[in-house]
């Protein structure tokens, strides 16, 4: 006989969990009591959102499910943003939550929240465990569901009395659910149809998304693209799925996509999505998306097919196995004319910035990160302009090397995700590229990196603004800058702070130091690369604050609601 708590921790071990992120509380005391004796590395976070993002970052970096544990009520509600983030991007996370004792559920008990109710819409699946006998099966199922099909977060809510209940139940083998049968093998007829379309196409483009990463299909994708000479555009979440350095790489499509990618999509005669779900930030105006193209869509999630764009050749299944079956049916081609056209676009308008600008531009700093690391790093980001620039000015050549909240766009993701990534990949350089707004949302988690000797580097692009919002106000709200100034010196009118505090507010260097990390501030371009080298050599967590030009914009930009052919380009 074991307690429900012991059962749970044993089941985590059986599922291969070696790293766990979380924070205790009244309803998980029994679980934490067991944890104290478990052969797991436990990361004590300082806010439960941090735990979910760490588990998420761990999963994105390693390909293994991330796992976290939170208490009932506020612990669970704090985890919601992280679950929603993982859910949008299809990241395998298992979250164990404590719940008030069964007999108190529904009585507004202390620290009670309807956790399964609250998280239903932001998880792939969730459970309220009623009986400890079910625990071994439910935990095994949770990992199975989180990691198969389109992966996603699963929450298991365990009331305190269930954790204390004694049970002799065990579970072994593969969990089976009659309502859950993800399709892996693609339909051969559809694959043949797709092969024929590729062979007949004069101007094909591949749109590679997160599915390529999730399915570990980048080798197959690269083989296909090179064999059939198909240019590849990678979505934000697909970055690294196809090497940015390949001549066929069009880089990112969509709202802040490259000119080459958006032109290729607008002019192609065949668009092949491999695990990209046609997010609205990618398609722009749907009715004018790839107007002349036949559209093929490989996706493991049937509900992704034809969700936003018409699809002529759907192929449901796992990207890797489908591409493997497809490749032998593809005829080797040169496609001179189309590639010449595409290369002209690439040359005409690569991602660029004003190299003569004397102040530090985030674009420049990110390029320096690329140079100093020689491209060998895991980059995590927060959300905003710096995120787009991190996609533009670092070249990703390996899957799982770019980690960013794409679907939900969660500010505060980058630092905890970097900690999770580093926890899973100790031998990699892990660099969080953040903004002065985003970093303040989960700064407290820096302590966790210090405690666990995780030498991550956090580079804050401090432009004094909620920059991306400022850009929208500049472009679409007649420069009415409302509530976007973070730097006190930029404040105006009703936002004016009367007694302007001296210096930086907050002082990120002091904050880093107060959290036990090193802090460096760079204000000159020439300081950027040395600071990065120094930080990487320090072998401890370091925060580098780059004071950047305040009011730069991300270009190109497709205005919201416009078609991909209506790109606004910045300065030449």
């Amino acid at each position: 006989m074991r307690s429900g708590a012991k059962c749970t921790i044993d089941a985590l071990k059986d599922a291969g969990v070696k790293t766990l992120f979380g924070l205790p509380g009244g309803t998980v005391l029994d679980l934490f009591d067991e944890l104290a004796r478990a052969p797991l590395e436990f990361f004590l976070v300082r806010h439960e959102q941090g735990a979910t993002h760490m588990a998420d970052g761990y999963a994105r970096a390693t390909g293994k499910p991330g796992c976290c544990i939170v208490t009932s009520g506020p612990g669970a509600t704090n985890a919601v943003t992280g679950l929603a983030t993982a859910n949008m991007d299809g990241i395998p996370v298992v979250c164990i939550a404590g719940q008030v004792p069964s007999h108190m559920i529904g009585n507004d008990a202390f620290q009670e929240a309807d956790t399964v109710g609250i998280t239903r819409a932001v998880t792939k699946h969730n459970y309220l465990v009623k009986n400890a006998d079910d625990l071994p099966r439910i935990i095994a199922e949770a990992f199975e569901i989180a990691t198969t099909g389109r992966p996603g977060p699963v929450l298991v809510d365990i009331p305190k009395d269930v954790q204390r209940q004694m049970t002799s139940a065990t579970f072994s083998g593969k969990p089976e659910r009659r309502g859950y049968k993800p399709v892996y093998e693609g339909n051969s007829k559809q694959i043949a149809k797709l092969a024929a379309a590729i062979n007949a196409s004069r101007k094909p483009v591949i749109l590679a998304g997160a599915g390529v990463i999730a399915a570990s299909a980048s080798a197959e994708l690269t083989t296909l693209a090179r064999k059939a000479k198909i240019p590849v555009t990678t979505t934000l979440l697909g970055l690294g799925g196809f090497p940015d350095t390949d001549p066929l790489a069009l880089r990112m499509p969509g709202m802040h996509g490259s000119v080459a990618a958006n032109r290729a999509i607008s002019n192609c005669d065949l668009l092949i999505s491999v695990g990209a779900r046609f997010d609205d930030r990618v398609t722009g105006k749907v009715s004018e998306f790839a107007p002349n193209a036949m559209i093929a869509h490989i996706d493991i999630d049937p509900s992704a097919i034809a969700k936003s764009v018409r699809v002529d050749i759907p192929v449901i299944g796992h990207a890797k196995s489908i591409l493997k079956e497809l490749i032998p049916q593809i005829v080797t081609q040169a496609r001179k004319e189309w590639l010449t056209q595409v290369h002209d676009w690439q040359k005409e308008a690569p991602f660029t910035y004003d190299a003569k600008e004397p102040r530090i531009l985030a674009q420049y700093a990110i390029e320096q990160i690329y140079e100093v690391t020689k491209g060998d790093a895991i980059i995590t980001t927060d959300v905003g302009q710096h995120q787009m620039w991190a996609a533009h000015f670092f070249k990703y050549t390996q899957p799982r090397s770019f980690i960013s909240s794409g679907g939900l766009g969660t500010m505060g993701f980058g630092l905890p995700a970097a900690i999770g990534a580093k926890a899973g990949c100790r031998d990699r350089n892990v660099i969080a590229i953040s903004g002065d707004g985003s970093i303040q949302m989960n700064f407290q988690e820096l302590v966790v990196a210090v405690e666990h000797d995780l030498p991550i580097v956090v580079v804050i692009m401090n432009n004094g603004y909620l920059g991306m919002v400022r850009q929208w106000q500049e472009m679409f709200y007649k420069k009415e800058y409302s509530a976007v100034r973070l730097d006190q010196n930029l404040r105006a009118r009703n936002e004016k702070i009367q007694n302007k505090p001296p210096g930086y507010l907050p002082d990120f260097v002091k904050m880093a130091e107060a959290h036990g990390a090193a802090g460096l501030r760079v204000t000159e371009k020439r300081e950027v690369a040395p600071a990065l080298r120094k930080a990487l050599a320090m072998k401890r967590p370091v925060v580098i604050e780059c004071i950047t030009k305040p009011d730069d914009n991300v270009y190109p930009m497709v205005p919201p609601g416009a078609s991909l052919s209506e790109m606004v380009q910045g300065l030449a």
């Binding site: 239903r120 699946h125 009659r178 309502g179 049937p302 509900s303």
Partner: protein, 164 residues
């Protein structure tokens, strides 16, 4: 895809695990998109671990196709069919309480008779009629009893089954 936007009432039936939370999940998915479930019926099937849900949702064909796919994606949903696409049987059961006077009592009974309804309870000043039938049949009946004073109505929600 935007050319296919005909709005009509969809009859969706789903086989789901007979477990708590499933109903909330299914209803949440539909109502979360701003769609109103006009009628909902849930009951066990020949397998007590499986329930059948039948829902009627008025809406755009394309959106409901998406809803159907999303429902199918749920772990505890075994299968989903939008019956609107095929020929199917539908039935609804209603109880209507009508204010009845000595004068109009026989008129109400006659009307119920014509529709195959049954008087299942009679009080001094009211009577309750039970009617089972196709949705349209029930709707026609309700239209005709409108002139009487309806005191209360309880409807089972539509149940449905594909013919094949």
């Amino acid at each position: 895809m935007s050319n296919n936007t005909s709005i009509r009432r969809h009859t969706i039936t789903a086989l789901v695990d007979n477990e708590p939370g499933v109903l909330a999940r299914v209803v949440g998915l539909i109502s979360g998109r701003g769609y109103n479930i006009e009628s909902l019926n849930v009951g066990p099937t020949q397998d007590p671990t499986i329930s059948r849900m039948t829902m009627q949702v008025p809406g755009d064909d394309r959106v409901l196709e998406q809803v159907t796919k999303q429902l199918n994606r749920q772990v505890d949903v075994i299968s989903v069919t939008d019956l609107t696409r095929e020929s199917f049987l539908n039935r609804e059961c209603i109880l209507v309480k009508i204010a009845a006077t000595r004068k109009n009592r026989s008129e109400i009974i006659e009307l119920a008779d014509v529709f195959g309804g049954k008087v299942v309870s009679a009080q001094n000043d009211s009577m309750v009629i039970q009617l089972v039938g196709e949705q349209q049949h029930v709707a026609d009946f309700m239209e005709l009893v409108k002139p009487f004073r309806i005191l209360d109505v309880s409807r089972s929600g539509v149940i449905a089954m594909g013919k094949e």
